[in-house]
Structure formats: C-alpha cells, structure tokens
C-alpha cells in the first residue's frame, strides 16, 4: 500500500475518536510500513517483535498525534525511538546481530531516508564503523575482525560498544 498522507491522517483522526474500522485499516498499513522500515535496520529474527512493539507503542501513545501535522513523520519518530531502544539492547547484551541493507532507502519515504544506516555509519570513526560492519552485519567473529583490521580483540569489543552507543545517539539527534 502506498502512503497517502491525507488519507492516513484522516484514518488517525477517526481512530482517535474511537472508530475501530479506521483503526484496523491504519494499523494494517502501519504494520507493513514498519516491516519495510525495520527490514533495513534489524535482523529478520527481531523484525516481527520490533514491529509488534512499535504497534503497541503507537497504541499507547495514540493521543500524541497532532491532527494538524502529517502522519508518517509521527510514525517514523516512534519507529525510530523503538529502533534506538533496540540498538541500546544490542549495545548492552552484545548478542544480537544487526543486519543492514546498505542500499539507498525508498525514495517514496523521505522520513526514513533521513536516517539511513549508511549515512549514520559515515559519522562514526572509521575503526568503529569497520568492526561493527564486520561483526554485527557480516557476522564475523571478534577474532576474525581483529585479524582483518589489525586491532586487538579487546579493542574490537570496545569499538563495537562505543560505536553502537554513538549510533544510538546519532539516530536520536538525526532529523
């Protein structure tokens, strides 16, 4: 389904008034939109969970949508917030792998294009970006990344942690 901003805003206003049919249509659109949004940002094993968590957040914060404003940037802000949470969880647990399609984002979704991973990676120090790509995206072990980059294993771990933390902060600031 392609985004029709005015139609989505109308559905949202109806949903805020308690119209269940409008809300069902809106949530179905949001689920598809979020699935595409997260497909370039999180591994497939986490994508459905994150879509559902974001739908729940949307439901809890329905009143925070201002009918005077466009709908997609509101949804994108909530999706981004949950994505930052996810990155922080990765940073804390050091277990989950980020899977990123670093190709250009959809042209018809400017709200997501603003914060593509590719752009964000360019803002990280090279040492941090390289080891995150190797370990968290390509799936190399810390030892393999250390051999490929010439960094020591402890330094690879430190760079991954610092890089992910910085990535989360960059996403929060990105507008």
């Amino acid at each position: 389904m392609r985004a029709d901003e005015a139609g989505l805003a109308r559905l949202m206003v109806l949903a805020q008034r308690g119209d269940r049919a409008a809300y069902a249509s809106l949530l179905k659109f949001c689920a598809g939109w979020l699935d595409r949004y997260y497909s370039r940002r999180v591994p497939p094993c986490r994508r459905d969970d994150l879509v559902q968590e974001t739908l729940l957040s949307l439901h809890r914060k329905l009143g925070s949508y201002d009918p005077q404003r466009p709908f997609i940037p509101w949804l994108a802000a909530i999706a981004r917030y949950r994505w930052v949470d996810h990155l922080r969880a990765v940073y804390r647990s050091d277990e989950v792998v980020i899977e990123a399609d670093l190709a250009a984002p959809d042209e018809d979704e400017p709200a997501t294009a603003r914060i593509s991973l590719e752009k964000l990676f360019r803002q990280l120090p090279q040492g941090q970006a390289r080891v995150i790509e190797m370990v968290k995206i390509e799936g190399l072990s810390v030892a393999e990344a250390a051999r490929n980059t010439g960094q020591s294993e402890p330094l690879v771990k430190v760079n991954i942690h610092r890089g992910l933390k910085r990535l989360a902060a960059l996403i929060e600031k990105a507008d």
């Binding site: 949903a15 805020q16 809300y23 689920a31 914060k61 329905l62 201002d66 914060i115």
Partner: protein, 214 residues
C-alpha cells in the same frame, strides 16, 4: 503479515477507546499558568523589590530578565512540542536564547577584568546563595508541569527533553525571584541569576529522562 502481528492488531483494535488528543496549545497554556503562579507565589511570599513596585525599572533588571524570559519561553515551547513526536521538526530557537543569556556572565567577567565594574564585596555572599537556592526551588512548579505533560506525550529524545525542562524551570524560578532580588550589580545578576539556570539544566538533563521514557 505474520499471524502474531494480525492477532495483535485485532487485540489493539478491540481495546480502542476514544483518546484525548494532546494539543500543544493546552501544554503551552499549562506552562504559562505555572509561570504566572510561580511569579504570584514569589511576590506573595517574599514581596517585590521597591523600585519595581514603584514603577521604576532599572535597565539591568529589564535586559537580564528580558533575556531570561525569552529563554524560558523558547525552552518551554520546545519542551511542550516534544510531547508530540515528529521526525524533521525539532525546535532550535532556544539555543539562541541560551547563547544570549550566557552573555550576562560573560559581560560580568569582562567588566570585572577590565575594571569597568566594581569588585564585589563578596564573591559568594548570603544574597548570592539566596538567589541560587530560590531560583532552583521556584522552578519546581514549572519542572513538575512540563514533566507531567511530557509523560502524557511521547518524547523521542528524553535527554533533550530533560535538558529543556531544566532550562525552562531555571528560567522561570530566576525570572520570578528577580522581582524580589533588589540587586543592580552586574556581577550578581550576571553570575548568580544565570547559575540557577545552568544548574537546573544539568539537573534536568540527569533527573528527567528516566521519568519521561516510555
């Protein structure tokens, strides 16, 4: 669409109730009321400095409080706006207000170093401590109001929201107490009327984010 997601959508649709929309104008009105109440409480409890009460406004009082008021307004507006998330629409005006207010301590330091202003009798006297303390305490009503508003909304940058609440609260507290503080010293106003704002901003940045995360 995965079955679990479809089930979740059905559940959420089943739970839907009419929702009260969080309107920015209401948030701004509440913040405005908190500001007015703070000034009224200050004047009611401590009284008003004599010259201002008599209708005579010293230039330093007007300039310093004008800058603090502008920063307080811009930070309050930015904080209230953050309750309605939106990619690509983050208020930036408060940064200029903050830069303008920081000119006050800078001017005080330059005036002291260049001997354009008299050296104060005390660098951190009882009056300085009173302004620092009361500026912080009197900001609490604004801090509570803005934090409650943000908790109802969906701030997506909690650290920035905390910083803005701190700045708005410090400005409100200091703006209100300036109606009582009789000092016309550039050193006192420049340093000890901006210190509560800086301290409040730091406290807000540290204390508020966990309260507004969702």
């Amino acid at each position: 669409m995965p079955l679990q997601t479809e089930d979740m959508i059905d559940t959420l649709v089943g739970q839907l109730q009419p929702t009260r929309v969080l309107r920015r104008s209401v948030g701004l009105a509440l913040a405005g009321l908190a500001g007015i109440a703070t000034i009224a409480i200050t004047i009611g409890l401590a009284g008003m400095r004599e010259d201002v009460a008599a209708g005579h406004f010293p230039p330093l009082f007007l300039i310093a409080n004008g800058l603090v008021l502008l920063l307080g307004l811009s930070a309050s507006i930015a904080a209230v706006t953050m309750a309605n998330p939106q990619v690509g629409n983050r208020p930036q005006g408060w940064r200029w207000g903050a830069a303008a207010v920081l000119l006050l301590p800078l001017a005080a330091i330059v005036a002291l170093v260049s001997h354009a202003a008299a050296v104060p009798g005390s660098w951190f006297g009882a009056h300085d401590r009173a302004c620092l303390t009361m500026g912080l305490i009197l900001g609490l009503l604004m801090a509570g109001t803005l934090t409650a508003w943000l908790r109802r909304g969906a701030p997506v940058a909690p650290e920035m929201a905390g910083l803005l609440v701190g700045i708005a609260s410090g400005c409100t507290g200091m703006f209100a107490f300036a109606f009582y503080c009789p000092s016309n010293s550039l050193y006192h106003v420049g340093v000890w009327h901006t210190a509560p704002i800086v301290l409040s901003a730091i406290l807000g940045r540290l204390v508020i984010p966990p309260l507004v995360r969702w």
